[in-house]
Symmetry: C2
Subunit: 349 residues, 2 copies
């Protein structure tokens, strides 16, 4: 038997152990593996291999004379090198699209639905992070005076992504002035990324001392405020109850409590998840890799959502380390694809 065959067999057995453990939530013994294995090997042989897998750090024993349980490293190896990739069928994708389609063209509603449906499908906690208008390019900017010293600044990235902010200003501004300023901004700034807006205006202020100086200065003040806060920067999270119901947590109330405390921390979660949203597709974080307080016993998967080529947000699933990574990956990928499809459709309509 060649070395690679050897390796292959170890992988297969690790896979079987993990899959059995995912279902049963209790340590897996050599007998069971022996039965499930295609090539018939006795439990004794399996035991020998299990010892090797334990030495490699993929498995561990809760105590002498219990079966084996995967370690973080075991799961990681399984995800990277053992499990095969599944995809949802076109039919399932269509069904999901129907489920998440909101009655209106509204990104927030879409994401809320997506996280809800994803939680239901996976029976885990599911999340979606709303894209910030900042990441997108300017389509239109409108200014509208409210009262004397307040101005409503509406930033339009595209039809579905709109941010409006009330900005307090020093000098009063009339309706006509606002309209003029709006026209100025729209001709000068359309097509820029919102993130470059301020830089661009600042550069102009330094360079030219032209007739627009006053306009530029006022715009800068207003846009600085409007872009500084983004209340829509939100994490939709649903289905925490599924996770707490898992034996890992329901048997250890303290852990459940810590998990929920961790999930209450919307901002921390959001930042961490944002980091993982990458164009490469589905990302997996396992156990201690999660690096979020209270979520050491959890794993999560993320996938990016895009409008066309531009990544504008993401979604994913969070559950106990003991989850079916194969199925979760398929579902997260499928859901992200559906959201991306819908957003892109909306955008080009």
């Amino acid at each position: 038997m060649s070395v690679t065959d050897f390796e292959q067999r170890r992988k297969e057995i690790l896979g079987l152990i993990i899959e059995a453990y995912v279902l049963s939530a209790s340590p897996v013994g050599s007998e069971l593996v022996s039965k499930k294995l295609r090539s018939s090997l006795s439990s004794a042989t399996i035991r020998n291999i299990m010892v090797e897998l334990e030495k490699s750090g993929y498995l561990e024993q809760p105590h002498t004379s219990a079966g084996r349980v995967p370690t973080d490293r075991g799961y990681r190896f399984y995800v990277d090198a053992v499990m095969d990739t599944a995809h949802l069928s076109p039919d399932e994708l269509r069904q999901i699209e129907v489920l998440i389609q909101p009655p209106e063209l509204d990104v927030e509603q879409l994401l809320q639905r997506a996280s809800g449906v994803l939680a239901g499908l996976t029976e885990q906690a599911a999340f979606a992070v709303s894209p910030t208008v900042k990441q997108r390019t300017v389509k239109q900017i409108e200014l509208m005076p409210l009262g004397v010293r307040k101005i409503l600044c509406v930033l339009v990235a595209n039809e579905e992504m709109i941010a409006s902010h009330v900005v307090e200003i020093e000098e009063p501004m009339s309706r006509d002035e606002a309209a003029a300023l709006g026209r100025f901004l729209n001709t000068e700034l359309a097509g820029l990324a919102f993130s470059e807006l301020l830089n661009s205006l600042e550069r102009r202020m330094l360079a030219e001392s032209d007739s627009f100086y006053h306009l530029v200065k006022r715009s800068l003040g207003i846009l600085q405020h409007a872009l500084s806060s983004e209340p829509n920067d939100r994490l939709y999270l649903e289905g925490a109850s599924y996770v707490v119901a898992q034996p890992e947590f329901s048997r250890h109330p303290r852990k459940a409590h810590e998990l929920l405390k961790g999930l209450d921390n919307e901002q921390t979660l959001l930042e961490r998840i944002r980091q993982d949203i990458a164009p490469e597709g589905v990302q997996v974080r396992i156990g201690r890799e999660v690096q979020l307080p209270g979520l050491e016993e959890c794993s999560y998967l993320t996938a990016p959502c895009a409008i066309g080529e531009e990544i504008v947000g993401g979604l994913g699933v969070l559950g106990p380390k003991r989850m079916s990574y194969r199925r979760m990956r398929a579902l997260v990928e499928g859901m992200a694809r559906c959201v991306t499809n819908l957003l892109t459709q909306w955008d080009t309509r």
Copy 2:
């Protein structure tokens, strides 16, 4: 000893039992009550009174030879007729105002902070319902074409409450047309409640066949859409982990799971809570009165938040039935007062 003295003593004992139970979470025996009672009565006498209180339905025994535990009815009586009212000191109120003040004039952010701070102070789950623009009166309406067949409709109730919706329309509309329509709407509809808007327009359509007919018709179509969905209609909920950590739930994982499932149901919760927000002030719902699936073992308190005299939202606290209603009422009332203060300040600034 007169009848009212008699009644008074029963109340005092019920109060002691409830307060002890709130702290200890375990059935309260006659010995303990006897010790805590000011007028010294032996445990035997207390037992007799406890039997009466049990007959009245205020107490029950988990089993023979355990102490007593309050029933829903017992809590209700305690809240209505036994406990005294506490209020936060002006100093505490000021501290809270500082804590919840957001960096910007934004109702949503204010409510989010309020629910977070309230959860921290009460160590229970706390919630806040965002006011819908529908409940307020029209200050300004702006229409802004986006692309060919879409129009952005901005509804301004006051500086801090703004709702914007993208509406798809049949016939294209130019910038000028939109501006004209906007002017029409602002002159005709300002001061009306948003909820009356549609009715008012419909009446006009039937009555007059005047030169404005076309304008009215178009407005109606747009506003119908814009008002039909209210994505800001949201419930902020924080601190569920506190509740799950209470022995009522941490000792019974199934109950904890059901609680969390109940809390996941944002819409149902929101509707139920809205019903309870009354101008009279703090409302209390206890146990089965809650009438929300999965929350039979909980109680909640709500208080209205207003801008001036007009109630625009509310907030409250949710926890196990075994909570310090006295302290919760003070905190909920105080927090509502702070939010009301801030909103009213903003509005009149």
